[in-house]
């Protein structure tokens, strides 16, 4: 990777940012940005659906983002049962490839929880922030599929971009004053935000 720090510093003159002007809580901006990146993953990684699970302050893996009802159900089921490809990715700190979730003996309980929904192939890549695993990016195919090396490399690279985004969002959040939780109990008053693609 070649970098010209002086040139880059000079070029920043021209940058503008709505994010800096943003008067609301940083979480809303971070949420919108994460939604945009997850939605783009569906197109860029040729997946039928994409989801993200993240570790909370207690190290619990929680469903964070999803582009479809199937992904949401899959992630919520993993969260409830404490098992699934996402959990294995965290435990192994490496990418987990599942050719057919429905027939994989490792995930029988998970599949039973999802029935009658059908999930085919799953690819779960670790999201790292500053080298530490912070969650996972999950790609779903509706039918069975053997993930290729190039598909896996692309997913791993994309998960690194997501990690970079989360790390920068956390750093930005540190720079902003802490806010009181909203009346609905959510940190930003949104509860859970939906974002149009």
């Amino acid at each position: 990777m070649a970098i010209d720090e002086q040139a880059l510093a000079a070029s920043i003159h021209g940058l503008t940012s709505t994010f800096r002007d943003y008067a609301g809580p940083p979480l809303q901006a971070a949420s919108a940005h994460l939604a945009a990146v997850v939605a783009a993953a569906e197109d860029l990684l040729d997946a039928d659906a994409v989801g993200i699970m993240l570790l909370d302050e207690n190290g619990t893996l929680r469903a964070a983002a999803s582009t479809s009802a199937i992904t949401a159900r899959l992630e919520q089921a993993q969260q409830r049962l404490g098992l699934g490809p996402g959990h294995d990715t965290i435990a192994r700190r490496s990418t987990v490839l599942v050719e057919n979730l429905t027939t994989d003996p490792a995930y029988t309980r998970l599949v039973a929880e999802l029935t009658p929904l059908q999930v085919g192939a799953v690819l779960s890549a670790p999201i790292r922030v500053d080298g530490a695993v912070a969650g996972n990016l999950n790609l779903i195919r509706n039918t069975a599929h053997r993930w290729t090396e190039s598909e896996t490399r692309a997913a791993v690279a994309y998960a690194e971009v997501v990690g970079e985004l989360l790390g920068a969002s956390a750093q930005f959040g540190r720079a902003r004053p802490a806010r009181q939780p909203a009346a609905d109990g959510s940190p930003d008053g949104t509860g859970g935000a939906e974002h149009a693609d």
Binding site: A40, L55, A65, D130, E164, A175, P187
Partner: protein, 239 residues
């Protein structure tokens, strides 16, 4: 279904991540997106150029040496595929950038770097073009429509990353420069709108008139926009 984000889960994750030492810089974030770009598109290399205060496109990051040289060549000559994508504010594709007649002054040099099939997309912040992202192959290559759409889509990811990383990077010098950008974003937008109405041109052409005026007068684009709004004229226009 619209993409759904659980704000509480995201907040819990960000709280956890805030315990880690600060280390995210704009540069680092841009390196990451360019590196990922190579893997995503299975290309030889990728690079990102970003405009300065005079709206001159400058080298930012590249995945490899030829990518860096590609950006230097375009900066020197003021033409090339990345410059074109930025100036016309549209995707530019080239089967062989080493023989492409749209940039005659640099085509040979680009070819000698081993850069041939090339695709570039403009990158925006706040609706204003601020740079261009390119991917290239070391052989002539026909980019199909799905690849063009995908790079444009990835350009949106780069924009999201830039917005977040710019906001997060609080290094002194960088922060001062960003304050400049923030101060002048509104007059630039208003100046573009003024030129669109006055000259009957589209957004891209209006922005280019503004940036050409900044370059030729060696002044910052924000200052030129302010003058335009005050006097109704660009610096080179007769009174």
């Amino acid at each position: 279904m619209p993409t759904k984000v659980d704000a509480q889960t995201l907040a819990a994750s960000l709280n956890r991540l805030q315990e880690q030492p600060e280390g995210h810089t704009l540069r680092g974030s841009l390196e990451r997106v360019v590196d990922a770009c190579v893997q995503l598109f299975s290309v030889t290399g990728s690079g990102l150029m970003v405009a300065d205060a005079q709206s001159v496109l400058r080298y930012a990051v590249a995945s490899d040496g030829p990518g860096r040289e590609l950006e230097d060549i375009q900066l020197e000559a003021g033409q090339g595929p990345c410059v074109l994508a930025f100036v016309v504010d549209e995707l530019v594709d080239s089967y062989d950038a080493g023989t492409d007649e749209r940039w005659p002054a640099v085509a040979d040099r680009i070819g000698s770097l081993g850069i041939h099939g090339l695709l570039g997309v403009p990158v925006h912040l706040s609706g204003i073009p601020v740079g261009s992202l390119d991917v290239y192959q070391d052989h002539p290559y026909h980019w199909d429509e799905s690849e063009q759409r995908a790079l444009a889509r990835y350009g949106e990811v780069v924009e999201v990353m830039m917005e977040t990383a710019v906001a997060a990077d609080r290094a002194g010098e960088l922060a001062e420069q960003l304050n400049y950008a923030l101060d002048y974003r509104v007059p630039i937008e208003r100046g573009v709108g003024y030129l669109m109405a006055r000259d009957g041109v589209d957004h891209a052409e209006a922005f280019n008139r503004l940036r050409r005026a900044a370059r030729s007068s060696r002044r910052k684009i924000g200052e030129v926009a302010e003058q335009l709004l005050q006097t109704g004229r660009l610096p080179e226009e007769a009174t």
